[in-house]
């Protein structure tokens, strides 16, 4: 007896949990995390090949059950020992100390978070006083006495060069050298990884910047007469000469010199309008002060090595307004660097945040990321393989960069920053070497895209998180058609094959890289996924959300994380009516157009109607749709009587009794906002019973069922498509092209969620490209993109979209309804007759009025034909 009873209650419990869990059932999520390195690294011409050469196969990530072992030199079950050499005393300590402190602060922070796989990082810093002979001794001590696993962020070109052979012999990884010499990457060395842009690259980029952006004509060069200074200056001069420009003066200095008055005079005599400075901080600040004293005021363009608060600290007002390169964000003010500032303050309360310590912090992040990807028990081989597996790596502090098994160079992009009152403010985004746009798989012969110059500072890639249902009931009718649209459009846009006005490749030449996320799992999960997209995947923007519940939950987080986000399909009218948004846009109209449009259509086509019934799913979408539709109809046709209002469970699938009730009610009009399997189930079960024959059956999302049910759709059904999409799409080049490429790929025509996706993607492309134009051809900031997006009008396969509501953040669209007619075998669908298109101004409330108030007030301000 007891068992029986227990089972009854247990099953009740299970039943309820299934009801509650039905929406939140775990489903395999599509996107995968950036993979650990899988490709075996082939040892390419390495200098002095060590006898214990690393074999090429990286260790596969170990199962978590594997015990922690002393898997290699410097690794114990609870620690990883790393070494660093940098001047901690002497003149260069102004650089060496913050470098060491930045790295130490990062590892302190990491250890406080639990370290890496339970191991704490121990960093041993040796002072070499910026003298190569000392560096050799220091590294020998670190390797032979302290048993370090790797040498991290050693300072100095000549200093690090002195230990390369020894490091190769000992198979010691040397990572993130504080020097931009090309020595680390040319020739390739298996165990050595650079980080900062090479001086040669910087020289080249700065020459471009000086000529193209600063329009400099008389250019002089001041550089340190050693490996460091020559590399940057020579690349700079070579790039000038390639453009037919000869420098008006080249003034070298020896690292031992202390008086720079003669250098300043020599430069001044050449009357340059720009001086390019490739020096370290003390000589550079002395030069600036001399020049200030002499009233010599050219434009100063400095190497990134100097972009640190120390320069204005030493040079004072002489450094006001100078420009410099930068490969990291503003250490003092960038929001991305907040963690760094907090951690640095905690570890070294007297250390002022600056470029040197932040650059070391970045190297710490790189090392930690590779260590945690190198398996539970890392070895030097698996660590090197993990570093080579870093692709488009950035934590937001640097431009993204990649290592590979043949390229250990590191970051290849720079920004230009300007110094005022101790602050370095970016004047450009990161720009630089962009890998060629990856060739998209060719599908159809297409005109070669017009060659187009990248906007200045344009990234090579723009990463877009795309969230739609990839599993669950909403996947087949909405999620997959919208995902498919994204796939084909991104491919075509990247290849520059879309028709005008979108016939340029990528977004301002940046290749779109999509990250697809499954929307299944409920609003809480989507908020977490959104955060993950922004903070871990580092997407540039997010396009997503079909479910209104997900939109409502994500909206506040968008503003919190300040990431450009475009809602592409969700129906709720609440988002922009309840609050103002900055980073959030919606490129399609909300559900009010469907409901008001349906009411207007019904009132026009059935002027003598007196009764109305409804069948809608029992959740927000169904209830809101019925509410708005019935209210609008009561306004248009006062005195209309309700027959029956059915609200079956979402995804009930079986509607025999509801259909009986609708048939028995014999209303003039039946309204349904059913979608997906429920919509099709209603038609499959209702049509044979004559549903829609005597009553006018209005299906606000009916368009999705047309290609699916084909000739079995009877005449006389009123069909909507949530806007001028699908069967109602306008006959334009862009629209025909979209339908063609989509149908060719997926053998079924696009439906309205596909059109909604195209609106979001084209809207983003239009906004970015307008922002680039507004910004004088330079890559825009997010704020500039937002400014361009607000109130934008842009072409889409559904016609021109206007961002008219919500202070320019919410689109309005026309809406179309039609009645099914005869089956058209050529089309594979029934034709739509009696089509009425209601302009956007007719079915959308004006700015500032909430939709339901607008309906209740009798559609004030509506402009209908």
């Amino acid at each position: 007896m007891f068992r029986q009873r227990m089972y009854s209650w247990l099953s009740l419990l299970v039943a309820l949990s299934l009801v509650l869990g039905a929406c939140a059932r775990p489903t395999p999520s599509a996107p995968e995390a950036p993979a650990a390195p899988t490709e075996a690294a082939t040892p390419t011409p390495a200098p002095p090949t060590p006898t214990s050469a690393p074999t090429s196969t990286p260790v596969p990530p170990a199962p978590t059950s594997e015990p922690l072992t002393a898997s290699d030199v410097g690794i114990t079950p609870d620690t990883i020992v790393l070494g660093m050499t940098a001047a901690q005393t002497g003149p260069v300590a102004t650089i060496g100390v913050p470098l060491a402190r930045g790295l130490q602060a990062y590892f302190d922070y990491l250890n406080a978070q639990g370290g890496i796989n339970g191991r704490k990082i121990k960093l041993i810093v040796e002072d070499d006083q910026y003298t190569p002979a000392n560096t050799v001794a220091a590294v020998k001590k670190l390797v032979e006495q302290d048993n370090i696993f790797a040498l991290v962020r050693p300072l100095g070109t000549a200093q690090t060069a002195a230990i390369l052979d020894y490091a190769a012999e000992k198979n010691l990884p040397v990572v993130g050298i504080a020097s931009g010499s090309s020595l680390w990457s040319v020739p390739f060395k298996k165990n050595v990884f650079g980080i900062q842009p090479t001086y040669a690259l910087e020289g080249k980029l700065m020459a471009q910047y000086a000529l193209d952006m600063l329009k400099a004509q008389r250019i002089a060069v001041f550089h340190q007469d050693d490996a460091f200074g020559k590399e940057g200056a020579e690349a700079f001069i070579a790039a000038l000469k390639a453009r037919g420009v000869e420098p008006v003066a080249v003034v070298p200095y020896s690292p031992t010199e202390t008086d720079f008055s003669s250098h300043a005079l020599k430069l001044q005599e050449a009357k340059p309008d720009l001086v390019f400075v490739y020096a370290i901080v003390v000589p550079a600040s002395s030069l600036l002060k001399e020049a200030e004293k002499n009233g010599f005021k050219p434009k100063w363009l400095l190497t990134y090595v100097l972009a640190d608060p120390i320069l204005p600290f030493l040079a004072g007002t002489a450094a006001e307004g100078v420009l410099a390169g930068a490969w990291i964000v503003d250490p003092l003010r960038a929001p991305e660097a907040q963690t760094y500032r907090d951690a640095l303050k905690k570890a070294f309360p007297d250390e002022v945040p600056g470029g040197y310590s932040l650059s070391s912090w970045v190297v710490g992040e790189v090392v930690a990321t590779a260590l945690s990807a190198a398996g539970r028990n890392p070895t030097r081989e698996s660590f090197i393989a993990a570093l080579e597996g870093l692709k488009d790596f950035t934590t937001g502090l640097t431009p993204p960069f990649s290592y590979s098994d043949s390229d250990h160079q590191g970051i290849k992009q720079l920004a230009v920053v300007e110094q005022h009152g101790g602050n370095w403010t970016p004047v450009t985004a990161f720009f630089g070497e962009a890998p060629a746009v990856a060739a998209a798989p060719t599908a159809a012969p297409a005109p070669t895209p017009a060659p187009i110059a990248s906007p200045e500072g344009a990234p090579t890639e723009i990463k877009i998180g795309i969230v739609t249902f990839l599993s669950g009931a909403a996947a087949a009718p909405f999620g997959i058609p919208s995902r498919n649209a994204a796939e084909i459009l991104i491919e075509q846009i990247n290849a520059g094959r879309a028709p005008a006005p979108y016939n340029t490749p990528g977004i301002g030449t940046a290749r779109i890289v999509p990250v697809y996320i499954d929307e299944a799992g409920g609003a809480d999960k989507q908020v977490a996924e959104y955060r993950r997209l922004v903070t871990d995947e580092k997407v540039d923007l997010v396009i997503g959300y079909i479910s209104s519940a997900d939109c409502l939950a994500v909206a506040p987080v968008v503003e919190e994380l300040k990431t450009l986000t475009v809602f592409f399909d969700c129906g709720t009218n609440q988002i922009f009516e309840e609050a103002d948004h900055t980073y959030l846009f919606r490129t399609h109209a909300h559900q009010i157009i469907d409901s008001v449009g349906a009411a207007r259509y019904v009132a026009a086509k059935k002027p003598d109607l007196s009764t109305v019934s409804g069948i809608n799913q029992n959740y927000a979408w169904g209830q809101d749709s019925w509410n708005a539709f019935s209210q609008a109809l009561f306004k248009l046709k006062p005195g209309t009587v309700i027959g029956t209002i059915q609200f079956p469970r979402l995804l009930a699938g079986e509607f025999s009794a509801e259909i009986s009730a609708l048939l028995a009610a014999r209303s003039d009009v039946i309204h349904s906002s059913f979608w997906g399997g429920d919509l099709e189930g209603l038609l499959i079960q209702g049509i044979p019973r004559g549903l829609g024959k005597d009553s006018m059956l209005v299906l606000t999302t009916g368009d999705t069922a047309l290609p699916r049910l084909g000739k079995d759709i009877p005449p006389g059904l009123v069909i909507g498509a949530r806007g001028p999409h699908g069967a109602f799409a306008p006959d334009t080049d862009l629209s025909r092209w979209f339908k063609q490429v989509y149908t060719d790929r997926f053998s079924v025509r696009p439906v309205y969620p596909s059109y909604h996706m195209s609106q979001a993607l084209f809207g983003v492309k239009a906004a970015y490209e307008k922002a680039i134009a507004d910004n004088g051809g330079k890559w825009p900031t997010v704020e500039q993109v937002i400014a361009a997006f607000e109130g934008l009008e842009f072409e889409t396969p559904s016609g021109v979209i206007k961002m008219a509501l919500g202070k320019g953040h919410q689109a309005v669209e026309p809406v179309a309804y039609g009645t099914t007619g005869e089956f058209d075998p050529a089309l594979g669908e029934v034709q739509l007759v009696d089509v009425m298109v209601f302009p956007a101004e007719c079915v959308n409330p004006p700015e500032g009025i909430k939709s339901l108030d607008w309906i209740a007030g009798g559609f004030q301000g509506a402009q209908c034909p």
Partner: protein, 299 residues
């Protein structure tokens, strides 16, 4: 009067559907003492296989259309024979007599696996096999059209119920099943081949689940997730009727069917909730369900 008539008709239609999806679950529980949550996926499998067979059959439009009903039956038996024995022999037999919570978790796991397996096998796009639904035409009852397919559904449900009753109460094998239900240990001691009883009963239960799915397939778009909806309803029905009792399932289905139909026509606002209301009331009054199993006879 007309409304009453329609409610009765709708109630019977819904009840026959509920009985088909619930009876297999209660049979398996009666004999194996396992609440099989995977029942919903077996229903979905039946729907998918039925839909695939029907679609394939109608590839040639000249074929005799009425054979499609037979294909639905074939689909159910196919699913039962392919999935039933391996699932019972491979997994469930290890669960007999274990903690009910463990059994629930294991069958829930099977449910999740099958749901994903269905996506792997059939994809996520819907299948439409609605041809058989409209094939028989309509009958007008009180001015409302009812497809004869609903009558077929009623006949299938009654036939399944009668055959099951006959099988259990009038055949030798059925008597062995009853013996096992009453006391599995003593039955074994008397020489009854317990594993054979279990595997046969489970397979029969799977066939019934798949039968429910197969005959539902022509009424719906067959999409991933249809099994989730069904398992909840099936539980409600058999809990009301008394777990383990096919007669109870029939009565439970009838009560739920009629009450729900009444709600749809009279107070549609209550429809979502009404089944659970009935269930809660029954559990309060008769916690063992309306048809209490012979559990009391145990010492």
């Amino acid at each position: 009067m007309n409304t009453l008539f329609i409610i009765l008709a709708d109630g019977l239609v819904y009840a026959s559907w509920l009985f088909l999806i619930g009876v297999g679950l209660t049979l398996i529980f009666g004999v194996l003492r396992i609440l099989n949550i995977a029942h919903g996926s077996l229903y979905a499998l039946g729907a998918y296989v039925g839909a695939v067979l029907v679609i394939a059959y109608f590839q040639d439009p000249d074929r005799w259309p009425f054979a499609s009903f037979f294909l639905l039956l074939v689909a159910a038996i196919l699913v039962g024979l392919v999935v039933g024995p391996p699932l019972e022999r491979g997994l469930l037999r290890r669960m007999y007599g274990r903690d009910p919570a463990l059994q629930l978790i294991v069958t829930y796991a099977v449910f999740l696996i099958l749901e994903d397996l269905i996506k792997v096998l059939f994809g996520v796009n819907p299948y439409y096999a609605y041809k058989p639904f409209g094939l028989l035409g309509n009958v007008s009852l009180a001015g409302v059209n009812y497809p004869y397919y609903y009558l077929l559904l009623l006949l299938v449900a009654i036939t399944a119920g009668v055959l099951l009753w006959f099988f259990v109460n009038r055949t030798r094998f059925g008597r062995l099943v009853i013996a096992v239900i009453h006391d599995a240990e003593v039955s074994t001691a008397l020489g009854i081949n317990l594993p054979r009883i279990y595997v046969t009963t489970f397979t029969l239960g799977v066939i019934l689940a798949a039968l429910g799915g197969a005959f539902t397939a022509p009424m719906i778009a067959v999409v991933p997730g249809i099994g989730v909806e069904v398992i909840v309803l099936a539980f409600a029905v058999i809990v009301i009727g008394g777990l383990g009792s096919p007669e109870g399932a029939a009565l439970g289905a009838l009560i739920v069917g009629l009450v729900r139909a009444a709600a749809v026509h009279l107070v549609p606002e209550l429809e979502l909730f009404i089944i659970y209301l009935v269930m809660a009331i029954v559990l309060l009054v008769r916690p063992q369900g309306l048809f209490a199993q012979a559990e009391v006879r145990r010492i």
